[in-house]
Structures are given as C-alpha cells and as structure tokens.
Assembly symmetry: C2
Homo-oligomer: 413 residues x 2
C-alpha cells in the first residue's frame, strides 16, 4: 500500500464511525473552533514559515495576502466552523417515502457520502472550512493543500484532528496529505476504492487537471466566466449599476462578470455611461469592433478574451443585434456559472431564463448573488458548474447521498 | 472532427431544441411507439440478420434469447414507450424557491441534462427504452449498442428518429453509433465537450471499463452483489421463503441475491430447511466450512465467490457469530445495491439499516423489490450503485438537472 492508499483505507474506516453520529459532530466542530483560537500563536508561527518561503520565492502580493493568517483571520475561521456546527444536520433526514400498495414501507433517507478528497490551492482557511462541512455531513475528509501553505495546513489539521478525536470522533476523520507533489494529487484522483467524491478548489488549471485525470467522481466548482446581457429594453441606469457591481465589487471571485453583451439598439446610449462608471475603478475594457466605435480608448477584444475568466479589473464587451445572438454567445463561451439579462421585456426575460443553460440565470440583478449564504443554503463548499448531483451553490446537503430503507413482513416478489 | 465528435456536436444542437419542449415529447413517443408496431416486419427482418450471425458465431442460447425480437417483444417495446410517454414531464418542475429578505425571488427549476450517451450490450429493446426516457426528459441521446445487435439497433433507431422528427423534434435527437468497435466506445467516454452524462448498461466488465476510461460523468448501474442476512432472531419460514424468492425468481437480474449470511445460533435449524427449498430449483450452494458442516453435498466457497455476481442458480453461504460480522462482510464484498436482514429484533433491524451502506436496505423482505416500478418511481434507466446524483432506481427525474432562476429589480450586492 502506498501512503495515499493507507490514508484512503483509514478514511473509509473513519467514515464508518462517522456515519451514525449526530450531536457529536456539532460538539466536535465547536471544540475545534475553540482549539483554533486557543492555538492561534502556533498557527501564526507555522504560517510565518510559509510566508517567508513564499516571499523568498517571489510570490505576488495578492497571493501572499491569500496565504497570510493573523489573529483576525483565525477568529474568522473559527467563526465559520461555529456557523457550520449550528446548521441543521443534513444526515438522517427523511427525504420521502410511502407505503406501497403491497404494504412495503419505503423510506428515502439522507446519508453521508463516505470519504471525500479536497484538492486546493493557497488559502489555508480552506482547511478548516472544508473539514467543518465534510465532518458536519458525516464524511471523512482527506485534504491535499498546496505546497506553499503546507506548514499552515499541517498545524491547522493537527489542531482540528486533536479536537475532533478529543470529543470522540474516529481517528483519521480528517487527514492532510504530507506529499504536496503532483504525484500525490494524481494518486488521490485515482483512489476509487476509497474515495466517494473529489472536489478541486482553485483556478481553472487545477480544476481542468482534476477533471481530466480523475477516476473518482468529481464535482467541479468555481470556474465562473459570467455574462451580463443588456437587452434593447433595458433600463440604462439599472444596467450601469449592475454591471459596475458585478464587475468591481470583488473581481477575484467566481460570480463576478467577465463579459458584457449589449444590444445594438441600446449600445450607443448605454455604453458611454457604463464605461464612465467603470472608469471610476480603472476597469480595462476589451471591446469588439463595434463597441470600440462607440467607446474608443479601449483594448481590442481577441477571440481568447471571450473564454477568459479575468478575475481582475478587465471586462470584455460585445455588441449583438438580437437576444438570440446573446444566448448563442453565452452557450459558446460561458462556463455555465451565472448569467444575467437586464430588460423590461417579459418576453425576453423568459426567453433568456429558458434558453440560457447555466447554474444561475438572473433577471435584473447582479450575478454576485450566486452564493450559498445569499441563496439561503448556508455555508457552501463551492459553486458547482456541472449538472450532476449538485449545480450552483453546494451546501451541506450536497455532501450527502441517500439510501432507501424498506420494511416488509416477509414480502416476496 | 471525428465521426463521434460530429455526433456529439449534433446531439448538443438537438439538446438545445429539446430543452423547451413539453407536450411535443409525449406526442413524439406515442408516434414512435406506433411506428415500431407498424414496422415490426422490417425490425424482425433486420433482427434475423443479427440472429443468424450470432448463431453462426456460436452465441449461447441464453444470449440468443436476449437478442431475439418477435411481434410480441416489439409490442412490449412500444408499450414501454407509451408508459414513458404518459409519465409526468420531469422538466420545468419548480423544485423549490423563496423570496429572500432582500426581495430577490429565487426559483429552483428542473431542466434537462443535455446530451446523454448510453453504452449497452446485446438487448435491442434497450434502444427504444433508453431513447424514450432520454427524450421524455428533454435530452438528446447517443446510443452505442453492441456489434451483435447492430442491424436491430440500426433499424429501431431509424424508425424512432423518423417518428420523432416527423412530429417536430429536432434532427439528431436520437443517434446510433455506426462503429461498434472498442474505439468508438472509448471516444464516447472522452467526449466531455458534448456529453453531459454517460450510462453504461450491461455486465460488470462493461461497467468497469467505462468507469475506468470515462472522462464524461458516469452513472454506474446494475451491478448487484446482493446479500440476505439471517439474524439469530429470524423467523425461519420467512427466511427460507425470502431467500428462495430473492435467489430463484429471476437469477439473471441485478436485485437477485448472491450470498446468504446466517447467524451461527440459527444456522443448524435454518440451513437444512433453506437448502431443501433451494434444491427444488437445483441451486448450487457454495458454502464456507462451517455451513458445509451443516449442509453437506455443497461446493466449498472460495474467496472469489464472495465477490461474484453469479447471475445464475448459484448461492454462496457463510456463517457468522454476530450481526457486526455480517455488516462487515457486506461492507467488504457488496456492490452497494440491495441487502436484506431477516429478524424480529428491532434493535438488530435498526443496526442493519443504519450501518449497511447500500442503495436499498431491507428488513424482512426480498431484495427483488429494488426496481423503479416497485418503488413507485415509474420506468427506470437502471439501478444506480453509486452515491452521487442518483442512487438506487434511476427514473425520469434523475435524467434531469436543475437551475436557479433569480428575479430582481436592479439588485446589487
């Protein structure tokens, strides 16, 4: 057995112990949250090692900021664990059922998935967030974070594990992969014997590598090439404010927009206003030829730009002559995350919501609301852009499966 | 573009046309059912070509029977299509929703998955069954049947396609892969750009090949290594009748049992009775050493037998000293399909249903009830033995995804 296989077997064993727990899980998360706060000095010390190495390696300021932990951030991590602790247990819910005509009583009950692998990049807070969600849903978890955050992830995992086991959760209910090489990620992707689900959290490169290489079932999260379509019947003020919000309120997140598509009949009136607003945040506009004719001093859009999740103060702009053309553009280039139409036409609103095949389709709203909390689903492990099992914000209930329990009195068929 | 890629692109285009259809789908299935009956002579003629080739190639009688079509079987295929036609449309259902505190109205609506691939073996009736379910759920489908049934599948697909297109469904809503080589299956498994789901239907060899090789999301169906555990507190008459039913009423199906586990305290009283009953159907018993001590004239069970889905009049028998040992045996060897406990102990019934992690867990009932119709779910495309998306009988609703439609009035975040 390789080390990863050993971890898989240990996770499967832990999952069996977690399967039937109830209030113990809540207690465990509370204890772990307290332990994080109590050990913040140790966490900051280990995080410093990662920070020093990253600085030496020339990591960008933005990435350094993602990696950095301080008292406040550790308190936030603990608070997030408490929030998950207090959510309704997603396991053991009776999802449906009936007494069949032959007298068999069939119940559909939610159960944990089993063992979950998470492959993620530099933010060490994912360690506690993912562990909390997996444990609350009764799953064992194997965490495989990035090399640059190894010391931080190591100390956080050790603190969580001690706290969990201290209140009676099974050994190895949370484990961290020591080996941060590509090889360990690949092994995890092929661990079909033990893992029930693999969730990659990070940039498009990571997601695609996992999607390509995984034999374990994967849920893709977080790739958001999102669009706003300004219809010919749009309110221009509303369009301007929504675009400004969806692009600039937090450009680095997956529900921010990357492209504005605008109807030619409204483009001349709307585009200069939109651009003026975006100039407040120095947003770089990559415009197609017709849009550039209306708002000069922009960068010409290349074919690649339509596919790109900029995650930055950059916005692609395209003019279309019909809503159908807008829908086609989205079908071709979108990652299926979130799209919005701005319109006062009921007909066009319906056409857009019916024909755009993305996880979240908005009418007259910013795409920034695609979020577990905003949707009332509680804490989320990511936004799924695939169609099976979970689509859109993925909360605790999506970390469960179900089984049927059937009670008879000697029934035969 | 390869031929398979062309078919994928065509399926994606057809899926866009199917997405918003309603009653048209019902009409299309009715028209196709009629067309199957009207063209039964042509179907039987093409089926004869497959049968002749199969006989010449020395196919077994059992497999020849699976391949064979006659008037009655074609009528059954048509009737199955009508049954699917008359089910409630699984698309466009409002699955939930709420008005959020900020006034955003969020609706969760069921939508088609898109394009589905089905890889299957010799039974040509899968062609019409799978097409009916996929189309009713608004999906385009690419069928890739086995070489031995090619002529039958070809003529059936052509008849369905003509009928579908005749009532206005999009071209290529159902397509059959002409190339029945392994290469075409492999290409289909990697068609991530176009396919939303791949369902293998057939034996364990096919399922495993698809599971190993697929990059497209897969739902495994139909591998059933099912168990009955006879608890120390079982009613022996009930145990005998349930085992006889679960093993012999239809040994070739996935919800038939392969292993009986029996508590040592009841084994001496129960096993001879059970064996006597099974002798009526000449069931071969592969017993562990202790069971063989009670019921001689059995074959010794090998380690491999515990893993095997015999799909035949063969039953493995094992004696255990506790319910925990039975649960462990199932955890190790089961395919996660259906398991039953026979007991009058409420404590043990609860322990079994809580700790056995299979799609369907029975108390005092035959496992043979794991079936879409028996569960009240309607026609099924298979029994899923995996945990994501669909687990257990997979009906029309599992051939859909969902999206969120969010309506605002200029909402920004």
């Amino acid at each position: 057995m390789t080390r990863i296989e050993e971890m898989g077997a240990a996770a499967e064993k832990a999952a069996r112990g977690l399967r039937t727990l109830g209030a113990e899980k809540t207690e465990a998360l509370k204890a772990a949250a307290k332990a994080l706060k109590d050990n913040s000095a140790a966490i900051i010390r280990e995080n410093k090692k990662d920070m020093d190495a990253a600085e030496k390696a020339g990591m960008s300021v933005a990435l350094l900021d993602r990696l950095m932990l301080n008292e406040e951030r550790i308190r936030d991590m603990a608070a997030a664990m408490i929030e998950v602790a207090l959510e309704t247990d997603p396991v053991g819910r009776i999802l449906g059922g009936e007494k069949r005509p032959n007298g068999l009583i069939i119940e559909k009950v939610s159960v944990p998935l089993g063992a979950i692998g998470i492959i993620y990049e530099s933010r060490p807070n994912v360690t506690s967030d993912a562990a909390a969600l997996c444990i609350k849903a009764g799953n064992a978890v194997i965490l495989r974070g990035g090399k640059e955050a190894y010391h931080s992830n190591r100390v956080i995992t050790d603190i969580l594990h001690s706290a969990f086991v201290g209140v009676g959760l099974p050994e190895n209910c949370v484990q961290l992969v020591e080996d941060t090489s590509r090889e360990s990620a690949r092994e995890l992707m092929e661990l079909v014997e033990y893992l029930d689900l693999l969730i990659p959290r990070g940039g498009a490169g990571l997601i695609n590598a996992v999607k390509e290489g995984a034999k374990v079932p994967v849920i893709e999260t977080g790739v958001g090439n999102c669009h706003v379509y300004v219809d010919e019947f749009a309110d221009i003020d509303m369009a301007r404010e929504i675009i400004f919000n969806a692009k600039t309120s937090r450009p680095s997140v997956c529900n921010a927009i990357e492209t504005v598509i605008i109807h030619s009949k409204i483009a001349e009136a709307a585009l200069p206003e939109i651009k003026k607003k975006l100039d407040e945040k120095n947003v770089e506009i990559r415009a197609d030829e017709r849009a550039a004719g209306i708002i000069p001093a922009t960068t010409p859009a290349e074919e690649d730009d339509w596919y790109t999740e900029f995650l930055d103060y950059i916005l692609a702009v395209k003019i279309v002559d019909s809503i159908d053309e807008a829908i086609e553009h989205i079908a071709k280039y979108s990652s299926g995350h979130s799209e919005a139409i701005i319109t006062n036409s009921l007909e066009n609103a319906d056409k857009f919501t019916e024909n755009v095949d993305s996880a979240a389709v908005y009418v007259n709203s910013s795409t920034r609301f695609t979020d577990g909390g905003e949707f009332g689903l509680g804490a989320e492990i990511g936004i799924s852009t695939q169609k099976l099992h979970a689509r859109g914000p993925m909360g605790l209930s999506h970390l469960t499966s179900h089984k049927y329990i059937i009670r008879g009195k000697g029934h035969i068929r």
